[in-house]
């Protein structure tokens, strides 16, 4: 084994990549070679650190010094000063608004120190393309333990005891889902990992898969053993080509090590995973639509019951779990259900990965204990609202989630508390909007999304999403009456009650929550004929 006195970790997450992390990495390798340090210093491409706003990010170990906004032009100085002479390059350190003094190591940065990393335990620490690095961090130990020492029923019991709930949006208890599939009659069963991350503002699953693909593969294999599946699928969005490449590589390595395939750990248990790729359809995130898509069909949701646990893929018992849910499984096996329950809240144990987007200083990826308040996430971790603007609205749960006003900033971020407050935790997307924006305008944007993504199968959703859009467009053109608002409310209720799947059921949600929490915006547009933010006008902006 080779030893290096320093490791330079370069974020290769998707956001840093677009900011040029690859050329930073190449420049580092070249400069280190040029200065004859190739035997002493290793450059590693790793998964997302989370502070995407400040990318490209690199971290130099063993000191854990965190550099932001690094360009290839900075590389010469980093190598010469830091790596050769041991002097930190001050001008590239992170400067938070609360800390005008530059912070040096990544643990010192508020953005990281307030987080609790379970799912993202390896993101930004290991090279995702190298299975050995995952194994060195206790990777595949949980699988070994499960296959050698636990019966499938005991694994299900452990997950039930941990209280792990689905992280894709619905929050269904994972152990119960496994139990239903395990006890369904049938010899052939399937496990599906739902990586069809389509909720606008959500990019956690891709960063988990790109930063630590083996944690998902290990979680899937454990789940497959528990429910008795010999075949698994990961269903990706067609747009996620980097994730697909990483996972293809990880699957190959796992097979070479005998961690997938026949007779895993010599126990006689066999399981393998096939990748399936979608082609652009939001509705395929719905599990029965996803199953249709894997079968090579139009991704239209099926009637339920029967649920996939009894009749799913090709009519066989099937369990569909989200990426983040599965990545939680190995740590639960290793540390126990009690450990997991010690994190988060009583009814929602564990952590949640959130993606911060919109008007927020530290846009990016975070993982925090369930139950942390919205205020803490926005101000302590997210660094608040940039450009001297004021907070106006936070949308939790993505475009199908609810819109919360400043008065509700102290709501705990967990499945039940957010539901009680009138919103949803959903997939963990969190979009922050400042006071320069108009509620009606952004609701119109949400509805534009839904009318485009409705699959057209059931009438309430196919027709309803268009009529919702038209009504809100009318408000934005300052032509609506209060009767239109009543119609909007009635139509919303009808869609919630009568749509076939969650798409149509949740499409009215941002309408209803903004009507509830921002009634003054609706009234200003309708009764006074003005847009308080000055965005909407009598001439429609989008045709």
């Amino acid at each position: 084994m080779e030893f290096f006195r320093s490791h330079v970790l370069v974020c290769s997450g998707v956001n840093c990549s677009f900011k040029g992390s690859r050329s930073v990495r190449n420049a580092l390798v070249e400069e280190i070679e040029k200065q004859g340090l190739g035997q002493e210093i290793k450059v590693v491409e790793t998964g997302c650190f989370g502070l995407c706003e400040e990318g490209p990010v690199i971290v130099v170990y063993p000191e854990a010094v965190h550099y932001c906004r690094v360009s290839p032009g900075d590389v010469g100085e980093i190598v010469e000063e830091h790596l050769r002479k041991g002097r930190i390059v001050n001008r590239l350190l992170y400067r938070g608004e609360a800390f005008p003094k530059a912070v040096q190591t990544w643990e010192q940065i508020d953005f990281y120190s307030r987080q609790k990393r379970v799912v993202l335990r390896n993101c930004g620490l290991i090279d995702p393309d190298n299975i050995d690095e995952y194994i060195a961090r206790d990777g595949y130990e949980a699988l070994g333990r499960v296959l050698r020492h636990l019966e499938p029923g005991e694994v299900i019991g452990l997950i039930k005891e941990s209280g792990l709930r689905g992280r894709g949006g619905a929050g269904f208890p994972a152990g119960l889902k496994w139990d239903f599939t395990a006890s369904a009659p049938g010899d052939q069963k399937y496990l599906i990992c739902n990586a069809d991350e389509g909720e606008p503002g959500t990019f956690k699953d891709r960063l988990i898969l790109e930063g630590d693909p083996h944690s998902v593969i290990e979680g899937m294999t454990i789940a497959a053993y528990a429910i008795g599946a010999s075949k698994g699928y990961i269903y990706f969005r067609g747009e996620y080509n980097l994730s697909i490449d990483r996972l293809t590589q990880a699957l190959k390595q796992a097979r070479e090590y005998g961690l997938l395939g026949e007779n895993i750990f010599g126990t006689g248990f066999g399981f393998d995973i096939e990748i399936k790729v979608g082609a652009g359809a939001y509705v395929c995130g719905e599990e029965t639509a996803l199953i249709n898509s894997i079968e090579g069909k139009r991704g239209e949701p099926r009637y339920k019951p029967p649920y996939p646990a009894s009749a799913g893929l090709w009519g066989k018992p099937t369990c569909v779990n989200n990426v983040e849910t599965l990545a939680n499984v190995p740590p639960i096996i290793l540390n126990g259900a009690e450990w997991f329950r010690s994190i988060g809240t009583e009814k929602c144990p564990g952590t949640k990965v959130f993606t911060l987007t919109g008007n927020i200083t530290n846009a990016g990826l975070i993982e925090v204990p369930m139950g942390i308040t919205l205020r803490e996430v926005i101000y302590d971790i997210g660094g608040g609202i940039p450009n001297g603007r004021k907070f106006k609205m936070a949308q939790t749960g993505g475009t199908s989630g609810g819109c919360l006003p400043g008065a509700l900033l102290d709501v705990p971020m967990d499945i039940d508390s957010l539901a009680a407050a009138g919103s949803a935790l959903g997939s963990g997307a969190l979009m922050i909007m400042d006071d320069s924006h108009c509620i009606i305008d952004v609701v119109k944007c949400f509805l534009q999304f839904f009318r485009h993504e409705s699959c057209g199968q059931c009438t309430p959703c196919r027709e309803g999403t268009w009529r919702l859009y038209e009504l809100v467009d009318k408000i934005s053109r300052l032509e609506a009456t209060m009767e239109d608002v009543e119609l909007l409310r009635r139509l919303s209720r009808t869609m919630e009650d009568a749509s076939l799947c969650a798409l149509g059921q949740t499409a009215p949600f941002p309408v209803l929550t903004t009507m509830r929490f921002f009634p003054e915006e609706y009234e200003a547009h309708i009764k006074k004929g003005v847009c308080p933010a000055g965005i909407c006008s009598a001439v429609s902006q989008t045709a």
Binding site: V14, C52, P200, T202, A281, G299, T355, G358, Q448, F449
Partner: protein, 161 residues
């Protein structure tokens, strides 16, 4: 417009080769269409017919799938498909200005293709790169943190070839 024998024959071999890679398995239809489309960013009627023949499934099934998913197009598209995200996180960080910049620079509206068949402008669903919103995807390449000025820089790199 009726499809000609020549049009059908010109794509036959290529489609058959792609289908055979997937052993004509029905559940691979999406991947097959991705591969068939890779050559010119759209699926022609002749190609759809040949896919149906090679897989021995009804043309209506192939057409149904090809028109259900937004990444496929049964209308001709340009060499470069510029897919612009107008989801909420991109919307509030300036996607509208980015759209206008693309439309003005290329002289076409969203959904249209330039006369030289080089660029097509389309909306896309969320690209999952909201950390660098507003974002667009040009064929396989994603660009983030866009402004109208950056749009010009990005387009310049494509105008070189």
């Amino acid at each position: 417009m009726a499809i000609t024998k020549e049009q059908l024959e010109s794509v036959e071999e290529r489609v058959q080769n792609i289908v055979s890679v997937y052993e004509a398995k029905e559940d691979c239809l999406l991947q097959i269409l991705h591969d068939v489309q890779a050559d010119n960013n759209s699926l022609s009627e002749a190609e759809l017919i040949q896919v149906a023949r090679a897989m021995d499934i009804p043309l209506s099934r192939v057409y149904g799938v090809a028109t259900f998913y937004s990444m496929y197009s049964v209308r001709p598209r340009g060499k470069y498909v510029i897919r612009i995200c107008e989801s909420a996180p991109c919307h509030i960080t300036g996607a509208q200005a980015v759209i206008r910049a693309f439309e003005q620079s290329l002289g076409i509206k969203m959904g249209e293709t330039t006369e030289d068949r080089k660029f097509t402008l389309e909306y896309t669903s969320c690209l999952g790169v909201c950390g660098v919103a507003p974002a667009v995807m040009i064929n396989e390449q994603v660009y983030g943190n866009l402004t109208p000025a950056k749009v010009q820089e990005v387009l310049a790199t494509y105008n070189e070839d």
